[in-house]
Amino acid sequence: MIDWFSGNEGYIQGALVAALLAASVQVALRAGVLSFASVGFYGVGAYGTGYLTATQGWGTAPAATVVVIITMVLSWLLALVLARLRALYLAMATIAFVLLVQIGALAWDSVTGGPLGLFGIPPALGTGGVALILAGVLAVNALTQRGAVGRRLLLLRKDEALASALGVNVRHQHQIAFVWSAVLGSLAGISQASLLTVFTPENLGFSVMVSALTALVVGGTWHWSGPLIGGVVFSWFLSAYLGFASDYRGVVEGALTVVVLVFLPKGLAGLFELLDPGRLRRAAAGPTGGPGGVSAGVPGGASTGQDRPVPAQEMGVSS
């Protein structure tokens, strides 16, 4: 077991960071915000912690705390600037932000180490620490996918005008999603810097953005487990078990992405829905299930955005 872990630890670490980064894109997307800014904050997190620990002698915990606070302030300001942008326009603006961070990393020698990057970052977090961070993030994402928050997020994503007409402060909610996304990106950067003990401009930029988005889409864009599944598939399985086909990794990744997009639009996490036993229970409850149906008795938050509604035919409803 220990041998297996030692042999796979590098892949596992890659999967954990990839999952964090994919989750950072997901939390914005599920509120209807198409933003890649979190990949820029991945750089802010990695360089910020690296600079404070490796060159200023700070401990990892205070450095990470300060970097997360800086991320929150910067991302809130960026959210105010980008508040009027939507969809592709917002995506383009945030891609520009990521590229600006990369250029800054190359140019700001005294802090980032320029093209050579930062070395000697203390490996304080370790695989267990990063796994703990990811578990916490996924737990929060899973909880906020259910109940009133889950419904609000789905509403925001589907119909902004309706959301505001139903009392949701759309701009405020988008800003919260943007900041939470940036914080997760920053945590991914802090984790990566701590695991690799080195961070260079090559660890940042367009390819990282594409990897995060691909892992998310393949894993499952809307389900909380999607980033974890995507991270494990892309950064672990495809690296560790591709064998003779490893020379064609790009082809395998592309083919897998296409197959998932075509046959599983909800990603690999969408397979859970096909196996969802709750759906059968709800169908069995039928029209006599009453207003609360299966979820009655837990007011206000019993029903979830995850619940798959039962088709009317199964409930005996006709026109």
Binding site: A165, P291, G292, S303, D307, P309
Partner: protein
Amino acid sequence: MTAVLELRDIKVRFGGVKAVDGVSLALEPGHLHALVGPNGSGKTTVVNTMSRLVTPTDGQVFLGGQDVTAAGPHEVYRRGLARTFQGIRLVEGLTVRENVLLGVQELPTARSRAGRRRAAEAADEALERMDVHHVAQVAPAALPYGVQRRVEIARAVAGAPKILLLDEPVAGMSAGERQEISAVLGRLRDDGMTMLLIEHDLRFVLGLSDHLFVLNFGQLLAAGDPAATAALPAVQEAFLGRKHVPA
């Protein structure tokens, strides 16, 4: 008596187009008002201005005597203005009950645990009131059009709003479905709900409303008792496109 909702000299321009041009009207408590007008007369823009989805170029909006011209749509909702849309807008991926819960969960009263419990009870009551409780766990998209509309009205009334705006609730419906919705609106009126019904079919609102507003080319053409207002030659001309010839 303070009007529940009041528009004062509202003007809305989209570029060079005057969608609404100096409309003033007041909605009295407990009345079912109807706002009618031919297609393109500015009815939906008036409703969007009331619910603050559209910001007027000029004029003021008052809700319960308070100026809400600068408020956001979420704020007027929380202050008691609910609405439905011309096209049915139920959220795909949520059940009927979850859709109705959306109508109560953002209210200031639903912030505490007890408040959330009361809000959920109110949602269940609204489902019963609109007679859609038996489909609470159903996907709305699979329901007949008329039932979907009742679910949408249940969502709007679940939070016990001070005023309900209904934008063409019977558009595209069969005669039977129109009758169903007419009965629902009648029940709400009997319960004392203040409503504004937007419609282009003059006949539908005549037997239902207490007060009629007629809009044409973005201006208020006439207002008053429904039958008397509908009989005015200017109103007949606006709807039929010709001078009214008395029988």
